[in-house]
């Protein structure tokens, strides 16, 4: 019995030494998640010896994982905050940002909602709880159900910065943990209003015009659509040139990478 155990341990050790495969651990935003997952799939198909894992736990968790050194790439839908940079620097890490795509933040309602167009001010008032009925913005007499991302989310922070002017969301707002969950809540609640990344818009929800501008690749890229932002991948220092990590964080610069970003529904950083 003892001999067997030793043999087993030896086998594991040998195998471990032989198969020291490369890994990339990715953690963070649920908005950037689809891009990271597609890139991971794409990279692993070409390099089967590399294992890339993606977890989608929110931008804040991505930043924390980077600070704690528990991930190689932190995907974030907002820039790192000063406090996070400081925490990272104190821990000896130096986060470097790679902007992989652009994203508008469509304001989503149920497709049965006749409202087509809101101003930023109206959206802000809705989320402040000052406008609480659709009839106040030209819709039917129905109480508005506001749905927001949780405060750990980069999408929430973007929304808070660009729409809410840092004012606190008020009223009976419902907080959910991911972009997909926002879409599901809006799908199933006719009087709901929410916001999510561009890649999460499908025909089950309706994206509103904001200030008369519909969120699309063009209006996001030109900056006409008022609620837009870049999407980031952070690495600790710029990866060693030619390394697996370097190749991974530059996928978005290739033609294939741009096509993937576009097909998932986001906006490539540059258009060639």
């Amino acid at each position: 019995m003892k001999k067997q155990i030793f043999a087993f341990a030896a086998a594991v050790a040998v195998a471990g030494a032989a198969g020291a495969s490369e890994t990339i651990v990715i953690d963070g935003s649920t908005t950037v998640g689809p891009i990271a997952k597609a890139f991971a799939e794409y990279y692993m198909a070409a390099n089967p010896e590399v294992n890339i894992t993606v977890s989608e736990s929110g931008s804040g968790n991505g930043a924390k994982a980077m600070v704690n050194g528990t991930c190689d790439v932190a995907i974030m839908s907002r820039p790192m905050k000063d406090s996070e940079f400081k925490a990272a620097a104190d821990g000896g890490a130096q986060p470097v940002a790679h902007v992989v795509a652009l994203d508008g933040l469509p304001i989503l309602v149920h497709p049965s909602n006749p409202v087509q167009d809101l101003t930023v001010e109206q959206v802000r008032k809705i989320f402040l709880g000052e406008i609480s009925n659709w009839s106040e913005v030209g819709g039917p007499n129905k109480e508005i159900v506001t749905i927001s991302r949780d405060t750990n989310s980069g999408t929430y922070e973007t929304f808070a910065g660009l729409v809410m002017n840092k004012e606190k969301i008020g009223g009976k707002c419902e907080y959910v943990g991911s972009n997909g969950a926002i879409r599901q809540r809006v799908q199933s609640t006719p009087a709901a209003i929410g916001y999510a990344g561009l890649g999460f818009v499908d025909k089950t929800v309706k994206a509103l015009k904001v200030n008369g501008i519909y969120p699309s690749a063009e209006t996001v890229q030109t900056g006409e659509y008022p609620v837009a932002r870049p999407l980031f991948m952070y690495t600790n220092r710029y990866p060693k040139l030619g390394s697996t990590l370097y190749q991974f964080v530059t996928i978005h610069l290739t033609e294939d990478g741009q096509e993937m970003v576009e097909e998932i529904g986001f906006v490539p950083v540059t258009a060639y």
Binding site: V12, A13, A15, G16, G19, S21, T23, V25, D27, T30, G33, P34, K37, A38, A40, E41, Y42, M44, N51, I52, T53, V54, S55, E56, S57, A65, N68, G69, T70, C71, D72, H110, P111, S112, N113, P114, P140, N141, K142, V176, G177, S178, N179, G180, A181, Q184, P190, A191, G199, F200, D202, K203, T204, D256, E259, M260, E263, I264, G265
Partner: protein, 502 residues
């Protein structure tokens, strides 16, 4: 109490008992039926030719020769619809160009008239010249009208066509001659017959919302797409598509048992759930490796060695409290302690997840082992000690074997719990996408796992409506794994008990 009252109460009580058992049975049925029914659809379903294409190209499975024959038939069946699309496009172009030639001719004529008018003006024939100029203006206006006609034509033909093509690509995959898309999900059409019908409906009908009643929410109106194409080359496109869809997709009853052992492709849109299944197995076994020795030894100490006193009862209270701590707290503890403080691995890992899970199930194992050890008749122990065996020897050879069935029950219950727990592994082990791990990789790498990925698929996946079957398949598999674990343990327990008795 009078006898009748007592009888009545007795009957009422047994009635209540029966009712509660019935309610429980119904609840169980309500929960399990959909899980089994919908979950089994991940394994047994009507697969289209596209499913077989994915299997052949991505998993190198199936008879290539037969597939090629089938696929040739499918391509032939689909050819007419693509021809119709091309005809329609050509028709649009032809119309545009014929209008353009007309327009150009008019413009040309207008130019000529202008020149003639200038000549006439110079010669002093103003009246004639004005006539010509009027004619020129008329021609110019006509040309302008033709130009708007072209843009109208484009609007009425090109835009509807583009939306048909988009819908068609979702149904059949890329058009013939189109460059292969990078994303795997766009390289194939619908792999399942049920999804095919949904997508077919989207090709045949457009959705519009009627907002005419300002006081109410809009109403969904489905308009047949054919209305936009009546009198064009595309008129027979929709009836043809509807009638021949099964030739174009060749649905066949498919038993895809490899759903469990296949890797997922393009984040679960194709393929199976092997990384998740393997991850769950690793995590469960890992948790057992840490929890069983600790738990059983602790139980032995508490029952056999420790002197009853304040400290021991305090420890007992602690254990009971630990059993009641919410699992997410264990998850956060695991993150803070195993990952950030003692850093068992550089990132989330199966090791960290197993350690966290083992803490979660430790109280259950300790308590059940304790109960089992205490249930061993005192006489066994006394006899053993009386024969001169040492305490340690007694525990090892008499008490533990006799308590084994009880200990096993506790282990099995906690095993099921470890396999199904989500919260402790969110921060310590689980990721939404990853490759199946080799054994040694579990020490340093995170893994997908069934409970977390079920949650992840239904809340975070970008194409969740397309892959409901995967989600149910995962639920089904997880329930089946837990059930099998329990069954296996029950059998083992029965055998051991029998051996002990006999």
């Amino acid at each position: 109490m009078r006898l009748e009252t007592r009888k009545l109460l007795d009957k009422a009580f047994s009635g209540l008992g029966l009712i509660s058992i019935a309610v429980m049975a119904i609840a169980l049925l309500l929960i399990l039926t959909p899980i089994v029914w919908r979950g089994s659809k991940a394994f047994v379903f009507k697969g289209t030719i596209e499913h077989r294409r994915v299997m052949l190209e991505q998993f190198h499975r199936g008879n290539a020769e037969k597939f090629n024959k089938d696929y040739a038939e499918v391509v032939a069946a689909r050819a007419p619809i693509y021809d119709m699309l091309t005809d329609f496009e050509a028709g649009t172009e032809q119309r545009v160009s014929s209008i353009e030639t007309e327009m150009d001719a008019k413009k040309e004529r207008a130019k000529e008239l202008k020149a003639e008018a200038r000549v006439l003006k110079r010669e002093g024939q103003t009246e004639e010249a004005e006539k010509l100029e009027a004619e020129e203006d008329r021609l110019k206006d006509e040309a302008k009208a033709l130009k708007t006609q072209i843009s109208e034509l484009k609007e009425s033909r090109t835009e509807p066509l583009e939306s048909v093509i988009d819908a068609l690509q979702e149904l059949f995959g890329p058009m013939p001659g189109q460059r292969t898309p990078v994303l795997l999900r766009q390289q194939y059409g619908q792999t399942r017959w049920d999804r095919t019908l949904v997508k077919l409906h989207e090709v045949l009908y457009t959705e519009e919302w009627d907002y005419s009643n300002a006081d109410a929410m809009g109403i969904l109106i489905e308009k047949p797409r054919i209305d936009q194409f009546i009198g064009t080359e595309m008129e027979s496109f929709f009836p043809y598509l509807e009638e021949n869809i099964s030739e174009m997709m060749q649905p066949r009853r498919t038993f895809y048992w490899q759903f469990i052992t296949d890797k997922s492709k393009d984040s679960h849109i194709f393929g199976g759930i092997w990384p998740e299944v393997l991850g769950t197995i690793y995590l469960t076994i890992g948790a057992m490796i840490f929890a069983i020795p600790m738990g059983v030894i602790a139980a032995i100490y508490l029952c056999e060695y420790a002197k009853e006193g304040r400290i021991i009862s305090f420890i007992r209270i602690c254990i009971s409290t630990l059993a009641g701590v919410p699992s997410i707290v264990f998850g956060l503890f695991g993150l803070a302690f195993f990952l950030n403080t003692i850093q068992v691995s550089d990132s989330k890992s199966v090791l960290a997840g197993s350690l966290t899970l083992s803490l979660l199930i430790l109280p259950t194992i300790i308590r059940s082992s304790e109960e089992a050890i205490l249930a061993v008749p005192r006489a066994y122990k006394e006899a053993s000690l009386g024969l001169g065996a040492s305490r340690w020897h007694t525990v090892l050879t008499v008490i533990l074997p006799a308590a084994l069935p009880g200990i096993l029950t506790g282990i099995v219950i906690s095993m099921g719990r470890a396999a199904g727990e989500t919260a402790p592994i969110i921060f310590t082990a689980a990721v939404s996408v990853g490759a199946p791990l080799k054994l040694w990789q579990t020490l340093s790498q995170p893994t997908p796992a069934l409970p977390w990925n079920i949650y992840n698929l239904c809340t975070e996946h970008e194409a969740v409506d397309e892959i409901r079957h995967v989600q149910y398949g995962m639920v089904f598999t997880l329930v089946a794994i837990v059930l099998l674990l329990n069954l296996g343990a029950i059998l083992m327990r029965a055998r051991i008990s029998k051996k002990l008795r006999g």
